[in-house]
Structure formats: structure tokens, C-alpha cells
């Protein structure tokens, strides 16, 4: 393709992010750092030098790193099992893994509180087994467990997509040449998976570093991350100077992390022996049973336990179990203006998610294609920035930037899906890019030599391979939008309430019915996602065309 074409293709996503991300963030930073026109260096210096800032930055990095490790620890074996083996319920588990990702963070935090609380199973089981109950509330473990719960989906989906397409010939050849199973995996498969693993780790790290509700609720007041501090200083104290400084610190940390990851990825990327058709999976036999059993058991524990607690709380009425909360979902839950009927909230959420996906996926694919053919490291880093930026920064920034001409779209209903698309776009790029990079350039050359025009090369070489990753990315973009809560609080209008907003309002009032209805609504959301993911999977599995 001509350079001009790729330049134009890349310009579209860049223009989108420049307008809807860079401009709002700059507006907020400017308001914070230059309140009277001059740069408030003294304020910046004070914030940076204060010990609490250092503690906050250190804690953010620590918990994000620990969360990433835990997520990889659970996610990689699960990705392996799902990619390689064939067993009953595999499709269901593959689909179920994405459910935590969709759940609003307020619900997950509430479910974990119930899980770890005094009347919860963790304390109950440890008390009966070990004698003393294990109280993990307000601990780092609670936070990283919640993060792992969310992000297992990212690791599993990103890595298993590549894993199942790896040509088995290589590891088999290694086995024939005498390498043991573990060695073959370590020296042959792992290096080939490295870029995908790195991409998933980077995303997990970013999500954990910018996570808000989990840290606020599960960490308690003594633990704060940069995100929580930005929220507190911006929304509670209106101390925009400190908030802006912290936002800059966060951005720089993200840039540093992403650059390192990208450098590592570049070094490990090589042409992968992949096909667009998944390699056959093997039945579970013999020792593999133990492995598969352990992995699935561990995943069930981490991912299944909070979900079960959520369902259980939706049925609890304070005196016994009943379906009251579920039945109440059929109509408006309260005769009150901000409590739209759940059906309406679900429709709103779906509409917004569809719009956001429709914006993010094509732009993301364009950006990925442009990056592969004419990429530079800094453009890649730039594209990933929205993932690592605090929701408050984006939300407040949009309020500031879009309040007056030239782009006075603050009250437009398109703003919420656009905000979601801003967060989802880098995600799409990161999921699609490793796969695109892994295509052997020789394939494209061969096609060109055989007479294919650049457009045909694109359609017949790049797009089919990208197809499946694009579907996974679309699923994620949809999920991100469904569960997004941070920026939406600042931008949503009452009658366009999304499901996370409705749930948060329910959880903000006393009474058993509020809690059980919030949990019931979350379960409905989770079930909807599960069903749609299963449906899409069924369609894709019959589409093994190359």
C-alpha cells in the first residue's frame, strides 16, 4: 500500500483521540497547573515532594505489579487448558471467563466485601478448617484478588487466541528431538507467546493501576492509589493543582511502562507459524486430567466464588431466600426520577456499548494496520495512553473542553459512547496488533508476486487473520463499555442511566431490598453477556474459512 494510504488510515484514529482524549486532558491539566496563567511550579514541587505522594505512587505500582502476577498465575494455565484441550463445558468456561470483566466495579467490590466479610465463606471456611478466621478485608490481598478476578479474561482471551493457532509442528518437533514437555514449552512455545503475554500483562497492569472502586472499598482508607487520590483531590476538594500533578505523574508512569513493554515485545516478536484455523485440540487423558482439573478448580475458585456470592445476595431478603428482587426487576424499582426501569437501563447500556464498539473497533483496526505497516514506537505509546489515564481526568476534562465552542457537545448523548470508545480503542489495538505483527511478510510478498493488488493482499492476508482477534477485541470493547462507570458519572444524563449507574444508586441506600436488587441486576447483566458471547462463539466456530 502506498505510504500515503497508510498515513491517511492512521490519521483517523489519531484525530479521534486528539479531539476526544488529548484535548480534554490538556484542558484539565492546564486548569490545574496554570490556574492564573502562569505555571504553578511551587505547587507542583510541593505535591511531588510530599511523602504521601511518594507513598501513593509506590503503592500504586506495587499493587498493580502484584495484581498482574496473580492474574498471569491464574490466567496462563487457564489459557493453556482452553487452547489445547477439548472437554465438556469448554465453550461455557471460555465465555464465562469474560463475565467478570463486564461487571461494574462497584458490584465486584460489594461481592468481595460479602465474600471476605464476617458472615462470608472465606472467614467461615478458614475458621472451621484452621480454627481462626482469615480476615482479608482492607488488605492488599483483597485488592489484587479483585483485580485478578477482572483481568483473568484479558489474559485468557488474548493469549489463547494466539496459542490455539500456533502450529503444533514446532513443539512436536522439539519433542521428537528429545526435549521434555516442560522444556519444549519453555524454549519453544513460550518465546512464541511472549508478545501476546506481554500485551496482556501491560493491559492488566494499566487496569490495575487505574482501578478505583476496588481500591477504595476493599483497600480501605489507609491504602490509596494515584487514581483514588486524583478522584479525592479533584471531586472532593477541588484541588485541581494536586490532581493535575498526580495525573501527569500517572501519565508519565504509564508512558514508561508501556515503552518498556513495547521494547520487550519488539525484541520477542517474530514471525509466528500460525494459521487462521485453530489447530486441533486434544482430549483430556491420563496425567493431563490432573493438570486440567487443578487449573479449572483454581479458576472456579477465584472467578466463580464472587459470582456465586453475587447470586446468593440477590436472593437474600434478610429473613430468608426468595425471588423478590428478581421479580422486582420487571418494572421500575423505585417511583423516583433517577431510578429508570432496569429494562430501560439495560437498553441504554446496550445501545451505548454498541455505539462505542462501532466506533472503537474500526478505528482500532485501522490504527493497528497503520502501525504494522508504518509504525513507530511513540505512536504506539500514544495510542495506549487512554488506558492508563484516570477516568476523573477524562470526565472532568470533557466537561471543561466541551462546554463552549468550537465543540460545545457537552450535553450531547453521543459523548458517553465516545468516552467509552476512547477507553476501548487502545484495547482493540493491543489485542489485534500482536497477531498482525506475527504475519510472515513473506506471505504478503508472495501474494504481491502472484499478482494481488495491495487491497487484495490486505483482504486476503491481513484481514482473515485479524478477523478472530478483531471479534475478541469487539467483545472486549463491548464489555468495557457495559461496565464503565468512572467517566460516565460525569457525563450521563438522568434518563439515559446505564446499568452501572443504576446499581450504584441502589447500593447507596440502606435496606436489604436495595442490595438484593443491585445484585439481581448485575446477575442479569452477567447472564446477558454470557449468552451473547456463547452465541458469537458458536457462529465463529463454524466459520473456519481461510
Amino acid at each position: 500500500m502506498t505510504r500515503r494510504w497508510w498515513w491517511a488510515a492512521g490519521a483517523l484514529p489519531v484525530a479521534f483521540l486528539a479531539t476526544f482524549y488529548a484535548w480534554p486532558v490538556t484542558a484539565l491539566l492546564e486548569r490545574g497547573l496554570r490556574p492564573d496563567g502562569a505555571l504553578d511550579l511551587a505547587g507542583v514541587r510541593d505535591t511531588l515532594a510530599s511523602p504521601s505522594t511518594r507513598a501513593v505512587v509506590a503503592f500504586t505500582l506495587q499493587q498493580a505489579a502484584a495484581s498482574t502476577l496473580l492474574t498471569l498465575f491464574i490466567g496462563l494455565p487457564l489459557a493453556h487448558v482452553l487452547a489445547r484441550y477439548r472437554f465438556r463445558g469448554r465453550r461455557l468456561i471460555e465465555a464465562a471467563v469474560i463475565v467478570p470483566f463486564v461487571l461494574p466495579t462497584v458490584v465486584v467490590a460489594a461481592a468481595f466485601v460479602a465474600l471476605l466479610g464476617q458472615r462470608g465463606p472465606v472467614q467461615g471456611v478458614t475458621a472451621s478448617v484452621f480454627g481462626t478466621p482469615l480476615d482479608l478485608r482492607h488488605s492488599m490481598w483483597a485488592i489484587i484478588a479483585a483485580h485478578a478476578f477482572f483481568n483473568v479474561a484479558v489474559v485468557v482471551r488474548t493469549v489463547s487466541v494466539v496459542w490455539e493457532r500456533l502450529d503444533r509442528a514446532l513443539p512436536e518437533a522439539a519433542a521428537v528431538l528429545g526435549a521434555g514437555r516442560v522444556r519444549a514449552w519453555l524454549h519453544v512455545e513460550l518465546p512464541l507467546l511472549a508478545p501476546a503475554i506481554l500485551a496482556a500483562s501491560a493491559i492488566t497492569f494499566l487496569f490495575s493501576a487505574t482501578s478505583f472502586a476496588a481500591v477504595l472499598v476493599l483497600g480501605g482508607p489507609r491504602r490509596a492509589t494515584i487514581e483514588v487520590e486524583i478522584w479525592r483531590t479533584a471531586t472532593q476538594l477541588l484541588d485541581l493543582g494536586t490532581a493535575a500533578t498526580l495525573a501527569v505523574v500517572q501519565l508519565l508512569a504509564v508512558v514508561a511502562l508501556v515503552s518498556v513493554t513495547l521494547w520487550l515485545e519488539r525484541r520477542t516478536t517474530r514471525v509466528l507459524p500460525i494459521s487462521s484455523r485453530a489447530a486441533g485440540s486434544i482430549a483430556v487423558r491420563g496425567r493431563a486430567r490432573i493438570w486440567v482439573g487443578c487449573v479449572l478448580g483454581m479458576a472456579a475458585l477465584l472467578v466463580g466464588a464472587p459470582l456465586l456470592v453475587m447470586v446468593e445476595r440477590s436472593l437474600w431478603t434478610g429473613q430468608g431466600y426468595s425471588l423478590d428482587a428478581w421479580l422486582a426487576l420487571r418494572g421500575a424499582l423505585r417511583d423516583s426520577v433517577l431510578f429508570v426501569a432496569p429494562g430501560e437501563a439495560i437498553l441504554s447500556s446496550l445501545r451505548i456499548a454498541a455505539t462505542a464498539t462501532f466506533i472503537a473497533v474500526p478505528l482500532g483496526i485501522l490504527a493497528a494496520l497503520a502501525l504494522v505497516h508504518r509504525g513507530s514506537r511513540w505512536r504506539e505509546v500514544g495510542l495506549l495512553l487512554p488506558l492508563g489515564t484516570s477516568a476523573v481526568t477524562v470526565g472532568f476534562g470533557m466537561l471543561l473542553a466541551f462546554g463552549s465552542p468550537p465543540l460545545a457537545i457537552r450535553s450531547s448523548p453521543w459523548l458517553v459512547p465516545v468516552a467509552h470508545a476512547v477507553v476501548a480503542l487502545p484495547f482493540v489495538v493491543r489485542v489485534v496488533l500482536p497477531l498482525l505483527r506475527a504475519i510472515d511478510p513473506a506471505l504478503r510478498d508472495a501474494a504481491a508476486v502472484a499478482g494481488a493488488s495491495p487491497a487484495q493482499v490486505l483482504r486476503n492476508v491481513d484481514l482473515p487473520i485479524v478477523g478472530r482477534a478483531a471479534a475478541a477485541a469487539a467483545g472486549f470493547a463491548f464489555a468495557i463499555s457495559l461496565g464503565e462507570f468512572g467517566a460516565t458519572t460525569f457525563l450521563a444524563r438522568a434518563q439515559g442511566a446505564t446499568v452501572p449507574l443504576l446499581i450504584e444508586r441502589l447500593l447507596g441506600q440502606p435496606g436489604v431490598t436495595n442490595v438484593s436488587q443491585a445484585m439481581a441486576l448485575s446477575t442479569v447483566l452477567a447472564l446477558m453477556v454470557l449468552v451473547s458471547v456463547l452465541a458469537v462463539q458458536r457462529w465463529r466456530s463454524e466459520a473456519s474459512v481461510w
Binding site: 472499598v217 433517577l338 451505548i352 466537561l399 447507596g508 440502606p510 474459512v545
Partner: protein, 361 residues
């Protein structure tokens, strides 16, 4: 074979794209923010109310308002009271809406400093007690109290007398029983700390908190994790029987509980701190008349009577009847603690910083 699959996949893919397209087009139709269709005739009038997430009102009342005046009300709700106010301050000059509702007495100083409002004195203020008013720029709409709530069942079971005053909490008999909220991240948390400042004075409050910290107090970041997560009473998960909440929470427990006839929780009346909630017309609005009509609407007897079971606070008008659940299960607080708004504004950050030093060490 392959061709047939390919054709079908193309068809399904196109259908999916089409669905997405139609769905996203639906988003622009969703811009029907009216709660009721505006009546025919001259240009439809609109007014926008900016508020926080705890705002609640029966939709029928809004519809009646629109029918009577021809004005459609759009509601922009996001975040808690502090967030809503700060959004308004951030967008001062080009306000998001016309009326701001949700400035409470702790935040009033900051709002007045930022010169957010345009003065308006409603005629209906004659039904509102003098002590609740705070100048021409803001109109009081509701009044509530932040109090310590305790779990009656827990205390009955343990055969311990429930706390009756703040000093009880630092008594060794009540060790490890209290949950408080971080004033830096929670508005009721801040109100409770201010209550101790009002009770013990500018110097005494720090000693009291040190004693409470030594008495094993648990601190939560917000009302939800405090009440629903750490409190043992009502619906909750936790193990501690004393928590910072609202004077109306016992009544809310009955209202939202399943067939409860008696409130499972009660209030420590001497620990209550009064909060008045105000509304004001935002400077920069182009709809002065509509905004004034909206403020009059908020002060109307119908809305004032609606407030208790929607927002769980008391109306400011004295001539309005309270619902049964309030008269039976909510305790009217006779002499709550309170601090003047200007003092609060001055000292708030210092108090919060000192508190964090003392208690969160």
C-alpha cells in the same frame, strides 16, 4: 462448500454490522430527555437541574409541573454532593444547567466563595424557619442529620446498654464496636467529625479521636462500605454494631425491609449533626424565569411532602405532613450539633488533615 460458508459468514457479518449501526442510531433518538411531552403552543420551555446521585423525586410530580407551567425539566445527576458542587465550580460561567441542587451546609462556604449563584428569594420561604435560611443566594430545600446508628439486636443479645452519647464510644466497654467514615472521602464522615468539633471544641476533639483510635475504631472510605459492609445491623454484612449514618436510616430499614414492623436499628440522638441542603440558580444561566419556577416547585407542598421517603431527609417547610414511616420509626432530633458554614469552610481541610494524621496512622 467453502463458498457457501463464506457467503453465509458475509451475510451474518453484514447483519451484525447493520444491527450495530441501527443501535447506535438509536442513541441520537435517546436525546428525549423530557419526562413528559411538552404541550403544544409557543416554543417549549426547558430547564436543567444539576444535582448529585442521591436526588430522588416522584416522576408524577415532575409531570404535573410540566403540565402546569409548560416547562420540561432535564436532570443531570452525577457523583456525590461534593462532586456535583465541584463540577459546577469547574464549569462556572458556562454552567451545565440552570439550577444546582445539593449544596449542603458543609459545602455552602465553598459555593458562596466561588460566586456560583444568582440571588433569588422565593415567596414560599415564609413557611421555612428563619434558622434554616442562609442568605439570598441559596434556598433551603431539605434538612437532615448525620448520626451514629446502632444495631438494637446486637446490644440486646450482648446485654450491653446501647451508647447514649459520644463519650460512651471511648469507654472500654465499647471497645472495637464502632465504624466511622473517612472525612476525606465521605460527606457523612466529615459531618460526624464536625459534630465532634462542635461538641468538644477546637482543642478537645483531637483528644477524643485519639481515645477512639485507641479503642479500636474501624474506618471505612464511604457510606456504602461502612453501612453495607461493616455494620452488623439491618441488611448488612459486618460485625460492628455502631456506625455513622443518617437519622432516617432506621426508617429506611423499615421501608426497604421485608415486612419489618420495628426498626432494627436506632440512633444516638446526642451525636447528631445538622445538615441543610440548598438549591440555587447558577450564574450564567439564560433561563432565569424557568429556574425561579423550578425553585418554587422544590419548595411547593407536594414536593416537600415527597422528600422524606425519597431522599430520607426532612422537608424545610413546617406546614407539611410527614409520612407514617417517619413519625413512627424516625427520631426527630431536637437539638443537633452544628457549626457555622463559614467556619467549616475555613477549617475543613485542616480538620481533615489533622484527623488523618491522628486516626489513620
Amino acid at each position: 462448500m467453502i463458498t457457501r460458508h463464506r457467503r453465509r459468514n458475509r451475510a451474518v457479518g453484514a447483519l451484525l454490522l447493520l444491527t450495530l449501526l441501527v443501535a447506535s442510531c438509536g442513541t441520537s433518538e435517546e436525546n428525549e430527555d423530557s419526562t413528559a411531552p411538552a404541550p403544544e403552543g409557543p416554543e417549549p420551555r426547558e430547564v436543567t437541574l444539576v444535582t448529585h446521585d442521591s436526588f430522588a423525586l416522584t416522576p408524577a410530580l415532575l409531570e404535573a409541573f410540566t403540565e402546569e407551567t409548560g416547562i420540561t425539566v432535564n436532570i443531570l445527576a452525577g457523583g456525590d454532593a461534593g462532586t456535583a458542587l465541584n463540577r459546577a465550580i469547574l464549569t462556572a460561567g458556562t454552567p451545565e444547567g440552570d439550577v444546582l441542587f445539593g449544596v449542603d451546609s458543609n459545602l455552602l462556604g465553598r459555593a458562596l466563595d466561588a460566586e456560583l449563584f444568582v440571588a433569588y428569594e422565593s415567596d414560599l420561604l415564609e413557611n421555612v424557619p428563619e434558622e434554616l435560611r442562609a442568605g439570598p443566594e441559596v434556598t433551603p430545600i431539605d434538612v437532615g442529620d448525620v448520626c451514629l446508628n446502632y444495631d438494637r439486636e446486637w446490644f440486646a443479645q450482648e446485654e450491653l446498654a446501647p451508647p447514649e452519647e459520644l463519650d460512651d464510644l471511648i469507654d472500654p466497654a465499647y471497645e472495637g464496636l464502632t465504624v466511622v467514615l473517612d472525612p476525606a472521602t465521605s460527606s457523612p464522615g466529615l459531618a460526624f467529625v464536625l459534630a465532634t468539633v462542635a461538641e468538644y471544641g477546637d482543642d478537645g476533639w483531637e483528644q477524643w479521636w485519639e481515645a477512639l483510635r485507641d479503642n479500636d475504631v474501624q474506618v471505612e472510605s464511604g457510606w456504602t462500605s461502612g453501612y453495607n459492609g461493616a455494620f452488623s445491623g439491618g441488611s448488612a454484612e459486618g460485625d460492628r454494631p455502631i456506625v455513622v449514618s443518617y437519622a432516617s436510616s432506621p426508617a429506611a430499614e423499615v421501608f426497604y425491609g421485608d415486612g419489618l414492623t420495628e426498626a432494627p436499628t436506632a440512633v444516638v440522638t446526642s451525636s447528631c449533626y445538622r445538615q441543610v441542603e440548598y438549591a440555587g440558580i447558577l450564574a450564567g444561566t439564560t433561563k432565569q424565569d424557568e429556574a425561579e419556577a423550578l425553585i418554587d416547585f422544590l419548595l411547593s407542598p407536594e414536593v416537600q411532602a415527597d422528600i422524606p421517603t425519597q431522599m430520607w431527609v426532612y422537608p424545610v417547610r413546617t406546614d407539611v405532613e410527614l409520612p407514617d414511616v417517619f413519625t413512627e420509626h424516625a427520631t426527630a432530633i431536637e437539638s443537633p450539633l452544628a457549626l457555622p458554614p463559614l467556619k467549616v469552610d475555613e477549617l475543613r481541610e485542616e480538620i481533615i488533615a489533622t484527623w488523618r494524621e491522628l486516626v489513620l496512622r
